[in-house]
């Protein structure tokens, strides 16, 4: 029963997307064009996020560690 409700809910969400972007009014070939464009854009955004965000996070983390590490050494030398 839950699967059926979920499927109905997803279909209703898809209808809302169709209404908001006016693809409800388009002829079938226009819909194909529009959805292809949308899906291509979405795929590119996700791919970029996957590749670049992880590298940026690891680089930023290394940079923070380096900063803290340096500070620690400097503090130790002054105290000495």
């Amino acid at each position: 029963m839950d699967i059926k409700n979920l499927k109905n809910y997803l279909y209703w969400l898809f209808c809302q997307f169709e209404l908001i972007t006016c693809s409800y009014l388009m002829e079938p070939w226009e819909k194909v064009l529009f959805y292809t464009f949308n899906i291509a854009m979405l795929f590119m955004v996700l791919y970029t996020a996957y590749i670049y965000v992880s590298i940026h996070i690891s680089t930023a983390f290394q940079f923070c560690l380096h900063l803290l590490g340096n500070q620690h050494e400097n503090a130790v030398s002054i105290v000495k």
Partner: protein, 525 residues
């Protein structure tokens, strides 16, 4: 705020696809089915490149099946419609031959329910048809002045409470042909922002200077009046010959009622004239159905020119102008409509005479009208109170119709607001616009309601601003409570399906705000 952004997104996508289709049509990849110039005229000034034609070609054609639907019965509370399909995306339509029966009619201007095919009005009209025939074959000034017309004009004058009245064959022509007869060059016209096309056309044809004040905004009107009196005509600084204020009783796209007491106070203070167009409000407002003047309880002699139409509440066709005797005698000679237009057809005149007599209560019919007294109490007391108190009073049929319309209006508006839709307009007006905003929902709403056997009118650009498209319901005294309940249930369903319940407050944002506040302060964000 989110709704506004999404509306623009929708229009943006449609515009892009519109450009794509135009490109394909120009390069002959796709067949061009709309009007274009001929080959020989390709180097002339282009005719079809402005925004309105772009809109018509690309946006209007996609949802065109919600308009111009042919009906094949009397447009009463229920109507029959011919079914049509389109195989090439609304460029051409074919009839399947089937007739969809008993569609609840929420779109006809049938406020008092006089659009009937049986009853006293119809019998009287049939008798006059067999007596006088259908055509008049002349203009009013030549041989077209029947005794029926004289009788009608005396009756209308008595109904409105003015000295004299004159009736014309077409409501649009009444406005557009008589305003040029009343004002000319050297006069000033102050007209409301949202006035009807007939008033705008009449004002432009007259050649007077036109200034526009914000909708129902008395500060804006007063500022314009003060400027006009102080500065006079633009270059010569002479005083204006006449200042005419054009307002409507109920604005048909907003459902708002004009602030008549304040307009009359301003008119008297600055000594100008008032032209009141009661197209939708005559018969529909007021305790005795005599229009917006009756609704506010004012003196009809304060309004200089009272204009109205017979199309909406009286179930006929035509318009009238009422006022002082000298004014109407002047119009009989100098109005374009009286000189050149054919006069009204006799059965139509008889329909109006019978319906006006019915509203005034003079035809002697009495109806036992059941009034539920407990509309208020039902909100306060809980479900325990199961039985309503009924009040049985014998009233005349006209009064029963007026009261039924008022009850229907209050009930319908209250239920729609409770459901969470955004409704414009005054609490008492029988015109109920329901906001849709997004372009795809205009088409979707019309089609879904027709699938559920309810006929509604949806409106978009250019009748309304481009982001404020709406569905307009016109209530009628012929709607019973069961019909309204069924309509409300279907509207609720469709509202949930299409996500139309935008209202986040219980207050409704009215369009007529005072001068200093901004219009968008209290809207949904």
């Amino acid at each position: 705020m989110l709704v506004a952004v999404l509306t623009y997104v929708g229009y943006g996508v449609l515009t892009l696809f519109g450009y794509l289709r135009d490109f394909m049509r120009q390069w002959k990849i796709e067949k061009c089915q709309n009007a274009t110039e001929r080959e020989e005229q390709k180097d002339f000034v282009p005719l079809y490149q402005d925004f309105e034609n772009f809109y018509t070609r690309n946006l209007y054609m996609r949802i065109r099946d919600s308009w111009n639907r042919p009906i094949c019965s009397v447009p009463g509370a229920k109507v029959d419609m011919m079914e049509r399909v389109s195989h090439d995306y609304n460029w051409t339509f074919t009839y399947t031959g089937r007739v969809i029966k008993d569609i609840i009619n929420m779109g006809s201007y049938n406020y008092l329910g006089f659009a009937q095919k049986a009853g006293t009005c119809q019998e009287a009209a049939a008798k006059v048809l067999s007596q006088y025939g259908a055509g008049v074959c002349s203009t009013r000034q030549e041989m077209g002045n029947l005794d029926k017309h004289e009788e009608l004009e005396k009756l209308v004058a008595r109904f409105l409470g003015v000295e004299s009245a004159m009736a014309y064959g077409m409501g649009f022509a009444t406005n557009s042909m008589n305003i040029p007869a009343l004002v000319g060059k050297g006069c000033l016209i102050l007209s409301d922002e949202l006035n009807h096309a007939s008033l705008v056309l009449g004002a432009r044809l007259s050649g007077a200077t036109i200034r526009i004040f914000k909708h129902n905004n008395m500060q804006s009107l007063e500022k314009l009046l003060k400027d006009a009196i102080v500065h006079g005509q633009p270059r010569t600084r002479r005083p204006w010959k006449k200042i005419l204020i054009l307002v409507e009783g109920i604005y048909s796209m907003e459902g708002s009622i004009v602030r008549l007491p304040e307009v009359i106070a301003l008119k008297k203070k600055y000594k100008s004239y008032l032209y009141l167009d009661e197209a939708h409000s005559i018969g529909a407002l007021g305790p005795s159905g005599r229009g917006v003047v009756d609704y506010f309880g004012l003196n009809p002699e304060d309004v200089d020119i009272m204009m109205g139409t017979f199309t909406k509440s009286f179930g006929a066709a035509g318009g009238y102008i009422g006022g002082k005797k000298e004014l109407i005698d002047y119009l009989r000679t100098y109005s374009h409509s009286a000189v050149y237009a054919t006069s009204m057809s006799p059965p139509v005149v008889e329909q109006i005479i019978t319906s006006v007599k019915c509203i005034m209560g003079e035809d002697g019919t009495t109806v036992v009208h059941v009034v539920t007294k407990n509309e208020r109490k039902r909100d306060i007391f809980p479900v325990i109170l199961l039985k309503f108190q009924w009040e049985w009073t014998p009233v005349s049929e006209g009064k029963a119709r007026v009261q039924q319309l008022a009850e229907n209006t209050r009930y319908f508006r209250r239920r729609l607001k409770e459901m969470g839709f955004i409704i414009y307009g005054n609490e008492d007006s029988p015109v109920v616009p329901l906001m849709l905003y997004m372009p795809a929902k205009i088409g979707a709403f019309g089609r879904e309601m027709l699938k559920r056997n309810i006929g509604v009118v949806v409106v978009g650009f250019p009748a309304t601003p481009i982001i404020e498209s709406r569905a307009r319901f016109c209530l009628s005294a012929a709607h019973t409570k069961e019909m309204l309940d069924r309509a409300l249930k279907e509207i609720d369903e469709v509202g949930d399906l299409l996500q139309l319940k935008y209202s986040r407050h219980r207050l409704v944002p009215l369009l007529d705000r005072p001068f200093d506040e901004t219009t968008y302060e209290e809207t949904e964000d």
